[in-house]
Symmetry: C2
Subunit: 434 residues, 2 copies
């Protein structure tokens, strides 16, 4: 892998309180950042591949903290309906027809979209996770794969053992871009005994837990009815908040829940598009951030979004909480961009290796072309990234020091083939009965 | 101007209840649509310029029903602050420094962005409106220009007379793409005697009124305090709702207001991004639509958005009202797309000439490339347009039968020059004191 030297761009390291560096330089060696700072202090040019970032902002790759990647197959399949109808009449029957190749090509389609849009890492929860792993390895993206543990299935215990074995195997392979997790779907689909075993398994394997938490009001009400406490309090009572955890959604929270999530430094994936599209509610993100919680951003799956554009999530996070709070100073642009990068990385337990451009971290870097009319005149790049840019403004995507997308071209996979195969798989999955 | 024949695309005419036409054909002659329908029934090919729309959706150009176009100069200048501070400390002082060339180049920068993003018509309210007119004529976009009448100025009467004369002159010139309006800023900035004269002037000139209405809670409270009635009721008492009118925002409305706006068929420009970014409140769009009101969409100016992407407004409208109502069936994709096209055109009083692809209407047409990974697999094109597409997916923009943007290239203006000049103007306007 060639060492890279990215020159002439405005560098946003996204390290806390770091100002934009005009005409900055970022160097990589062996997939790791070896320099990020002003041109004057940069090391002498060596035998590096030089990338000219003129007119671009250079920043850490965006981190999608919660998705179900192969659900790209369901994009546009079932919109504008209530959650139960969506799940029971549309999504679940289609998912019964999933074959391994469907999950592979669906995941790869999603990886193409994310790499185009500057997403360099995604946290997945989906069936047949070995397929998402393969798609990540093939496309060059970084992944946190996990299956979906549904504790109500008759063979739940066996599935859990298989999931733990899968994670152990991945940990042993030690692929530099694969960071597995264990994913019990939610407390309302996993009985306590399964959750406890997941906790033990996660500690033993040294991996975090990925779970849906407090997404809907009914989930919370059911928890009070069944356990006499909130889902957050219940997970804490089970000891699970002491295991590293990524909790997706966290919409319906009490003040005590917020304090507990902050105290335990549970990673939170805020998914504004999904919460709006499914009318799940308004997550108390400003209060979570105020309490010191670690709040990243996720797209959720493509059946409830319907894209994987993390610029849109950051944009929406900035807008939604202004609207909901009635205060236009809420969640300013720099906070939204931190959520899409540093905080998402931290939420996934990967804060030490990705999320900022700092020496020693993995070289997950994007160049955003700011020269288009809609990003002019030149001004605060963070404002333009959050309030005016789209994923399609990303010019170059680098993961682990490898250029995987440049000038609209994916360099790792044959995108036309991916689209053709994914289209066939989508037809199989949703139209097999038709 | 060459006649056009657009073939091989999926045609969405956006006429009510019309289904997508696979492999449809759209023909234009002399800037007017001469055919839109299935290939089988299309007229024989004549001496036309053929546009291959393979892989594209062909639909009416999007109509931006409310903006302040030259405020592109202020993009990213003042975010994340309360309205009064934004206006009084940032925007108004900068606007004091505006020269005619600033308004021209700022408007042209906005026109470039809109044409790239498939917006073929915009409704403007800004100082020195002759500059926006020139920018529209030069760039090839369709415009509804108007100045800003601030009734509290000492020379308000004179300014009104000038505005009426300006409109009369434009009406006389009868440019096919210029549709002037008269724009009193709002009821809280225009005393009744000015509003009444605006109404007379509008009737005399045969143009609609463009006004901000019920944008903030304080505007409504002030109206009750001063007039003992809501702003909508007050305009009605003055007889102004019987003049064709485009009312921007309409956030804070009573049930009576909603009924009145529907009864009088006042055109409404819903501006979801602006309402969210400035925390103005949640417009009762589902109730307005239910009552039969004419609700289009607008971006508002670039200092409160910060872009001119109508795909984003349609997307946000679909999401926001699901979130606010708690009902995910609210404002489905086809309604959002109708708001961005047919309903916006109707709201501007241009429903007879633009907004749908129907024989006899002006040929304002866009081609959206659906072949990218984020719009795959192929499925309901309306869902993909609303929930997954961006303005940058527009491949071709046609206004009045003229191809003005194709494959990312603007054919009417030198975009590099526009960006350079607008950047200079922006520096003058915001940094003259610095």
């Amino acid at each position: 892998m060639a060492a890279l030297r990215i020159v002439n761009g405005t560098v946003l390291t996204m390290a806390p309180d770091q100002e934009p560096i005009a005409e900055g330089v970022v160097c990589t060696q062996g997939g790791v950042i070896s320099y990020a700072g002003p041109a004057e202090q940069a090391p002498e040019p060596a035998d590096e591949q030089v990338i000219d970032a003129s007119g671009c902002v250079v920043l850490p790759g965006l981190v999608n903290a919660h998705t179900h990647l192969a659900m790209t197959l369901f994009r546009g399949y079932a919109d504008d309906m209530i959650l139960q109808e969506w799940l029971e009449d549309w999504i679940w029957p289609a998912e019964m027809r999933l074959r391994p190749e469907d999950v592979y090509w669906g995941s790869l389609l999603g990886a193409c979209e994310m790499l185009r849009f500057g997403v360099t890492c995604f946290n997945d929860m989906y069936h047949m996770p070995e397929q998402a792993v393969q798609a990540a390895i093939d496309s060059g993206i970084r992944a946190c794969p996990s299956g979906v543990l549904l504790g109500f299935l008759p063979n739940a215990e066996q599935l859990l053992e298989e999931a733990i074995a899968f994670v152990a195997e991945l940990r042993q392979q030690n692929h530099p871009r694969i960071h597995p997790m264990l994913a019990p779907h939610a407390i309302y689909t996993c009985p306590d005994e399964i959750l406890l075993k997941v906790g033990e398994g996660a500690v033993e394997a040294g991996v975090p837990i990925h779970i849906h938490l407090c997404e809907t009001a009914s989930e919370v009400q059911d928890s009070y009815d069944e356990h006499g406490e909130s889902p957050v309090a219940h997970l804490n009572a089970l000891g699970l908040l002491d295991v590293p955890m990524l909790a997706a959604h966290c919409v319906h929270l009490s003040e005590e829940d917020i304090a507990l999530l902050a105290e335990k430094q549970v990673g939170i994936a805020h998914c504004p598009t999904s919460n709006m599209k499914l009318a799940s509610g308004f997550a108390p993100v400003p209060a979570l951030l105020e309490a010191g919680a670690v709040v990243g951003l996720g797209t959720d799956g493509c059946a409830s979004n319907n894209n994987l554009d993390m610029f849109e999530e950051a944009h929406l996070a900035a807008l939604l909480h202004k609207a909901h709070s009635g205060d236009p100073t809420t969640l300013p642009a720099h906070t939204a961009l931190a959520m899409a990068t540093r905080l998402s990385a931290q939420a996934l337990g990967l804060g030490d290796i990705i999320g900022t451009l700092e020496v020693g971290k993995r070289a997950d870097i994007i160049l955003v072309d700011m020269s288009s009319a809609h990003l002019q005149p030149p001004r605060d790049p963070i404002s333009h990234l959050i309030y005016a840019a789209h994923g399609s403004d990303v010019r170059t995507t680098i993961v682990e020091g490898q250029v995987v997308m440049n000038d609209g071209e994916l360099l790792t996979v044959d995108e036309a083939q991916v689209i053709a195969r994914a289209t066939q798989c989508a037809a199989h999955v949703v139209e097999a009965d038709g």
